[in-house]
Amino acid sequence: MSKKVSVWSDNRFWQRSAAWVTGFAAMLLIWLTFDTMGQIAMGTDEDLTQGVTKRVPGPTVINYKITYEMSDKRGHEVPVIGEKENFFGRDDYSDEEARALLNLGKLGVQAKNCMNCHTLLGNGAYYAPDLTKAWLDPMWDGYIARLGKDSKEEAIAEFLQNPSENPSHERMMPNLGITETEAKGIVAFLKHMSSIDTNGFPRNFGKIQGAIHGK
């Protein structure tokens, strides 16, 4: 080996430094992963009945009204789980029933490749609107009337089954062969996703009517 002049030009020193830095960063990531996994594990039905706030609530959150409100304490909007609310005519889904619906919806969202047009929690493609708070979107009010439905969930389910017959804009959602059962699952998935605490993303959702298109 060449004569060592200084530690700063010694390959062994830098090799060891690289190993230590990488090891330290990896250990810190793994430690934080354990903490995060605990915090984003799905809550239970009991949490909901007792009003315990979870970052990712349990599947039975579909039995409740969800809103997205400014929290003065946290300085941004947070999902608020309110009173009982009907979902496809019922507000008493058991944990198993709700979980099965949510699971079907998640499988549907993956099987229909939603993420390569839409974003979910802001991740995906940018050809169609973000779905993070899609359950709360004011656009559905118009669709309830347009599709002649009694509730938001029924309007969404109908839209999902026949999207290109009920477009909102020139850029349409294609028909993906979503069945009635699958649509119900996907609506449950969307409602559940809107209850996830996303640290205030998206900001100002549905609160501001733009000045240029002021209505």
């Binding site: 830095v21 969202v109 993956q110 099987a111 991740n123 290109s164 294609p174």
Partner: protein
């Protein structure tokens, strides 16, 4: 392509490169389809919808880069170890299996597209998770082929000489392969889903892939300009420390808004703000070594060594493009204060195009030129008119797309996010604003420029050895 290779490993490397070039072509074509759909939404509607075009576009990207990376390792392995790759027969079998699997996966994407909401769809058609849509059967196939590749690298390095560059590659490839496993499970919890999904995507492109190109560029400096190995390897270790030191915890910038706790704001902001530092260092190192080696030779009254100008141009371009695309365009929107508005907008697409091109595509195109030189056995490869046209048009096309998408992203963020509050209606008001539409037109035009640049490069790779400038000099 005439083959003058003394090692079977180099031939296998070239086989991987050939498929990589074909997949790059597919990436550009399907990108154009998606680009056209932004401007003319009825184009191929309910035939080849945006989600399918875009899935093939980004999967072709990931797979061609992986092909080029595996090819690069097989190509440089004999140079580093001094021997031919140990399990070359198994390596070739792996190549054919992988290529057959990729073909089937792409055909299923295009012809079957989606399936019913059950696990069979995820196992046989696609998984609906951006970048790693490959169905589960293909995941398992990929793992098997990668295990063959890894064992080849390890066994060859153990039998032959193990250099510093090879040591870095061995550790890096093990991490790269292992991380793929984090993307191979199903959960109904979307937050947990995306948490592990980023372990694959982020820890690939912003950690292990970056270290990979740093090692490749180090090897190339030794090969093309005769840089001093000891200094190259010292820099490489410093690079590894900085890239992993910032990149591993930089994953926090993906954990701002997916349901994960607030402490990721600080961790993600701090470490991802540090991510450009090693990229600056990489560029400085390349330029420094170039000047230093030339200076030493000139001082001794000799001609500076430079035996492959096309490859070297692409390597220098990559070192700079990595800094601009990944470093600057990434830093634009990495802080949570900014990211709450830009997350999931065309800003992300702008950064994605420029970073993948600058950091990885340019370095891998450089490797194609290294292989072209090797296949002819020429001591010296000089660039032709077509080399320059390919470089200029491809750079212009991709930078043009990135600038157009940045402008589109700016309009989108101001109108949809800041003004309208990110609703369905807000989204479309931004998408139909004049500035956004104009930018999407420019993006499409620049996509066509990219395609023309790609055609120049393919033509040049096939003909550069026979070009006048490279035949006059003799062997």
């Amino acid at each position: 392509m005439a083959s003058n290779f003394a090692y079977e490993s180099k031939k296998l490397g070239v086989m991987y490169f050939a498929v990589a070039v074909a997949l790059l072509g597919a990436q550009i074509l399907f990108g154009l389809v998606a680009g056209i759909q932004f401007v003319y939404p009825s184009f191929l509607f309910e035939v080849l919808d945006f989600n399918v075009a875009r899935m093939v576009h980004i999967n072709a990207l990931v797979v061609w880069l992986l092909y080029a990376m595996i090819g690069s390792v097989y190509y440089l392995l004999p140079d580093e170890t001094g021997i031919d790759t140990v399990g070359i027969g198994l390596g070739k079998l792996g190549f054919y299996i992988l290529t057959a699997a990729v073909t089937v996966v792409v055909l299923v994407y295009i012809l079957i597209q989606t399936g019913p909401a059950n696990h069979t769809t995820l196992w046989l058609i696609q998984e609906g998770r951006e970048y790693i849509e490959a169905p589960r059967w293909a995941d398992i196939g990929i793992v098997v082929v990668v295990l063959v590749f890894l064992s080849n690298v390890y066994l060859t390095a153990m039998k032959g000489e193990r250099t510093g560059i090879l040591t870095v590659l061995m550790a890096d490839l093990l991490a790269l392969a292992g991380l793929y496993l984090a993307g191979m499970f199903y959960t109904e919890n979307i937050s947990i889903d995306q948490y592990w999904w980023w372990w694959v995507i982020h820890l690939w492109v912003e950690a292990t892939w970056e270290v990979f190109v740093a090692a490749i560029i180090g090897w190339a400096l030794i090969k093309t300009i005769g840089a001093n190995r000891q200094i190259v390897e010292m820099w490489l270790w410093i690079e590894v420390a900085m890239l992993f030191g910032s990149g591993i915890l930089g994953i926090g910038h993906h954990y701002f808004w997916i349901g994960t706790p607030e402490y990721w704001w600080e961790i993600g902001a701090l470490f991802s703000a540090l991510e450009p530092v090693p990229l600056v260092a990489m560029f400085v190192h390349v330029m420094y070594d170039w000047g230093k080696e030339a200076g030493i030779k000139k001082g001794a009254g000799e001609k500076p060594m430079m035996n492959n100008t096309p490859a070297f141009m692409w390597f220098v371009g990559s070192a700079f493009g990595n800094f601009i695309g990944a470093g600057v365009w990434g830093f634009f929107h990495t802080l949570p204060q900014m990211n709450i508005y830009t997350h999931g907008s065309q800003f992300t697409a702008a950064h994605g195009h420029l970073a993948f091109f600058g950091a990885f595509a340019m370095a891998m195109i450089a490797m194609f030129y290294m292989a072209v030189q090797g296949s002819s056995g020429k001591k010296d490869l000089k660039m032709t008119f077509n080399t320059k046209m390919g470089f200029i048009l491809l750079c212009l096309g991709v930078v043009g797309m990135a600038v157009a998408l940045t402008i589109a992203g700016y309009g989108q963020v101001m109108v949809e996010r800041a003004q309208m509050g990110a609703t369905w209606e807000g989204y479309f008001v931004s998408q139909y604003s004049h500035w956004f539409k104009q930018a999407m037109g420019w993006r499409l035009a620049m996509g066509v420029v990219t395609l023309v640049g790609f055609l120049y490069i393919v033509y040049d790779l096939l003909t550069i050895n026979k070009a006048k400038i490279n035949t006059e000099q003799g062997e």
